[in-house]
C-alpha cells in the first residue's frame, strides 16, 4: 500500500515535469517571437529586448528551461501585461471565488449524480433509466456558456428571481463590511454569523452553480450507471442475492462500494471539466474567479496570465488524479 502510494507520487512528479515541458514549449518555442508576446502587443523595442533577457531567450533552450522550472518552483509566473501585477498574486485573489463554484458543483455531482446513476442501473431499461440517460447525454451535449445565457434570460430577464451576476448585491457590498478570513465569502459570512451576506451570496451562486454543475451531474450519473451495471453482473452479486439479502443492500452496499474506483476517477475528471468550464461561464456571470481572469486575459492576449492559469489548472488536475488513484488503491484488488 505504502509502496503503491510512493510510486504513484513519484509518477505524479514526473507527469508534472512533463506538463512543465509542454507548457514551456507552447509558450516559448511555438510562437515565432516569444519575447514580443511576453512583452505585450504595444511593447517598445526596448521592452521586447528586456523581455528577451528576462526570459533568457538569448541563452540555449536547456538553460531557458532550467530558469523556467526554477521560476515555477518559486511560484513565479511572471507579470500580467494588463495590470502589471504578479500573476501568482492575482491567481490567489481570484481562486476562492472559483473554488466556491467548483465545490458546489462537485457536491451536486456526488449527491445528485451518483444516486441518479444508481437508480438508473437498478431500473435498467425502465422509464426512469431512459429519462436519466437522456438527461446525462443531453447535458454533456449542451454548450455550458449557452446554458448560462439562457438561465439569465429566463430567471433574470423574464422572471426576475435571481440576480444576473456578481457574488454579492451592490447594496450589501456598499452597506456592509464583508468579513475576510479565508476569502471564501459564503464560508466567512457563515462563521461570523453574517446571515444576510450569506444568503445574498447563496442567492448569487444559484445560476452559475446550476450552469457549472449540470455537466458533472450528467457525467457522474452516466459513469456510475455503467460501472454498476458491470458489477451487478458479477458472481458475488448473484451470491449476495441468493443469500436473500435485500436488493437495497446489494445495490447500495455491495455494488456501489465496489464501484468506488470508477466513481472517484470520474469525480476527479468532472472536477477538471468544471474548472475548465468556469473559464467559459464565470465571465457571463461576472464571477470574480480565475475563469473570468483567463477570459479577460485571452481577449487582451495577456500571455503571462493565460500561461499562469494553464499551469495552475494543469497542476491541480494532476494532484486531483493522484488523489483519485490513491482512493482506488484502497481497494485491495487493484493493489499490486
Amino acid at each position: 500500500m505504502k509502496k503503491f502510494i510512493l510510486r504513484r507520487l513519484l509518477l505524479g512528479v514526473i507527469v508534472m515535469l512533463g506538463v512543465a515541458v509542454i507548457t514551456f514549449f507552447v509558450a516559448r518555442v511555438v510562437p515565432s517571437n516569444p519575447a514580443a508576446k511576453w512583452a505585450g502587443p504595444r511593447a517598445t523595442p526596448e521592452q521586447i529586448a528586456r523581455a528577451t533577457v528576462e526570459l533568457g531567450l538569448d541563452k540555449p533552450l536547456v538553460v531557458q528551461f532550467g530558469k523556467y522550472l526554477a521560476d515555477l518552483l518559486q511560484g513565479n509566473l511572471g507579470y500580467s501585461l494588463r495590470t502589471r501585477r504578479p500573476v501568482t498574486l492575482e491567481l490567489m485573489e481570484s481562486l476562492p471565488a472559483t473554488i466556491e463554484l467548483v465545490f458546489i458543483s462537485t457536491i451536486a455531482a456526488v449527491f445528485i449524480g451518483i444516486p441518479l446513476g444508481v437508480i438508473s442501473a437498478r431500473r435498467k431499461d425502465q422509464l426512469v433509466d431512459h429519462l436519466s440517460r437522456l438527461f446525462s447525454i443531453g447535458v454533456v451535449s449542451l454548450p455550458t456558456f449557452w446554458i448560462g445565457l439562457i438561465l439569465q434570460l429566463v430567471f433574470f430577464r423574464t422572471l426576475g428571481i435571481f440576480p444576473m451576476g456578481g457574488q454579492l448585491s451592490t447594496e450589501i457590498k456598499v452597506m456592509m463590511e464583508i468579513p475576510k478570513i479565508t476569502g471564501f465569502i459564503m464560508f466567512d459570512s457563515l462563521i461570523t454569523g453574517n446571515f444576510k451576506i450569506f444568503f445574498d451570496a447563496l442567492w448569487h451562486i444559484v445560476l452559475p452553480g446550476i450552469t457549472i454543475g449540470m455537466y458533472p451531474v450528467g457525467l457522474v450519473a452516466r459513469m456510475t450507471r455503467s460501472a454498476l451495471l458491470e458489477i451487478l453482473s458479477e458472481d458475488y452479486i448473484t451470491a449476495a442475492r441468493s443469500y436473500g439479502l435485500s436488493e437495497r443492500i446489494v445495490l447500495w452496499s455491495y455494488a456501489l462500494k465496489n464501484s468506488i474506483g470508477a466513481t472517484s476517477t470520474v469525480v476527479a475528471l468532472s472536477i477538471g471539466y468544471t474548472l475548465v468550464n468556469t473559464f467559459l461561464t464565470e465571465s457571463i456571470f461576472t464571477w470574480p474567479g480565475i475563469g473570468s481572469y483567463i477570459a479577460t486575459a485571452v481577449i487582451g492576449l495577456d500571455y503571462p496570465a493565460i500561461m499562469g492559469v494553464t499551469i495552475f489548472s494543469a497542476f491541480s488536475y494532476v494532484v486531483l488524479n493522484l488523489v483519485a488513484d490513491i482512493i482506488i488503491a484502497l481497494d485491495p484488488r487493484v493493489r499490486t
Partner: protein, 297 residues
C-alpha cells in the same frame, strides 16, 4: 489494382461488421432519428448557399434598417445587430462546424494512429517513450491545453483546429496501442516476424489494419465533443473571427444584445445542442452495438 483487391479482401470482415452494426443501430428509434438528423445536417452544410433564405447575409452583407428584429415570417430566426438573417447564418454555421470537426478529428487520427501502432507494434523503449508523452498530454484537463495553444498561435479558426489536434491525438494513440499490443502476439504477426518481414511492414501492413475498428468508433463519438470545443474556443475569442458565422462566435457576439433579443443567443445554441446531441447518441449507440456485453440481437 491487385493492391486494391487485396485491401478490399482484408477489409471485408470489417465492412461486414459495419453493415451489421448499422443494421443494429438502425433498429433503435432514437438512434435512427439521430442518423437521419445527421444526414440532414450534412445536406444542410453542403447545400447551405442554396437552402438559406439570405445566403449573402452569411458573411458580410449588412442591412442596418432590419437590425435585431424578432423572429417573423421573413426572418424565421430574427436578425442580428447588423440586420443579417440569423437563420442563414446558423445554416452556414453548420457547414463551418461540421467541416472543422471532421478535419480536426481526421488530423488527430493521422497523428495518433501511426504513433499508437508503432508504440504497440515495436514495443520496448519506443513504446515507453511514446506512451509517457501521451500520458503527459492527457494529464491536462480537457480544453485547457487547446486554450493555451490557440492563444499562443493567435486567434483564428485554423489555429483553433490545430490546437484541438495537438490536444486530441493522444486518445487515439492510446486506443490503437492497446489493440496493437494484443495483436502483436497473434500467430500471423509472429509468423511475419519469423520470416524476417521488416518492422515497418509488420506495423503498417499487419498490425495497423487490424486495430482500426475501435478507433473509428471513438472518432465518431468524438465529433460531438470536438464541435463543442470549437464553439467554446470561438466563444472565448480564440476561434473563428467576425464576420464568420460560427455558432460559438454568434453566441459570444449575442452577449451584448441578448437581454433584449432572446432569439440571438437561443437559436445558435439550439443548433449546437442538436448537432452535438445526435452525434453523441449515435456514438453511444455504436459503442453499445460493438460491446459484446450490451449487444442485443
Amino acid at each position: 489494382m491487385e493492391w486494391f483487391s487485396d485491401t478490399l479482401k482484408t477489409l471485408q470482415p470489417v465492412i461486414r461488421d459495419y453493415r451489421l452494426s448499422f443494421y443494429l443501430l438502425n433498429r433503435n428509434a432514437l438512434q435512427r432519428y439521430s442518423l437521419i438528423i445527421i444526414a440532414l445536417l450534412i445536406l444542410l452544410a453542403i447545400f447551405a448557399p442554396w437552402i438559406s433564405p439570405f445566403p449573402t447575409h452569411a458573411i458580410s452583407e449588412t442591412n442596418p434598417q432590419d437590425k435585431l428584429l424578432p423572429p417573423s415570417s421573413r426572418y424565421l430566426f430574427g436578425t442580428d445587430e447588423l440586420g443579417r438573417d440569423l437563420l442563414s447564418r446558423v445554416i452556414f454555421g453548420t457547414r463551418i462546424s461540421l467541416q472543422t470537426a471532421l478535419i480536426a478529428v481526421g488530423l488527430a487520427l493521422l497523428v495518433g494512429v501511426p504513433l499508437g501502432a508503432i508504440a504497440g507494434g515495436v514495443g520496448g523503449i519506443v513504446d515507453e517513450i511514446i506512451m509517457r508523452i501521451t500520458d503527459v498530454f492527457l494529464s491536462f484537463p480537457p480544453l485547457l491545453l487547446a486554450i493555451a495553444i490557440a492563444s499562443f498561435l493567435g486567434p483564428s479558426l485554423q489555429n483553433a483546429m490545430l490546437a484541438i489536434v495537438i490536444s486530441w491525438w493522444p486518445w487515439y494513440t492510446r486506443i490503437i496501442r492497446g489493440q496493437a499490443v494484443s495483436i502483436r502476439e497473434r500467430q500471423f504477426v509472429r509468423a511475419a516476424r519469423a520470416t524476417g518481414t521488416p518492422m515497418t511492414s509488420i506495423v503498417f501492413k499487419h498490425i495497423l489494419p487490424n486495430t482500426m475498428a475501435p478507433v473509428i468508433v471513438q472518432a465518431s463519438m468524438d465529433i460531438g465533443g470536438v464541435i463543442l470545443t470549437i464553439a467554446a474556443l470561438s466563444f472565448l475569442g480564440l476561434g473563428a473571427q467576425p464576420p464568420t458565422p460560427e455558432w460559438g462566435l454568434l453566441i459570444s457576439t449575442s452577449r451584448t444584445y441578448f437581454l433584449n433579443a432572446w432569439w440571438y443567443s437561443t437559436f445558435p445554441g439550439i443548433a449546437i445542442f442538436i448537432t452535438v446531441l445526435v452525434f453523441n447518441l449515435v456514438g453511444d449507440g455504436i459503442r453499445e452495438v460493438l460491446d459484446p456485453r450490451t449487444r442485443k440481437f
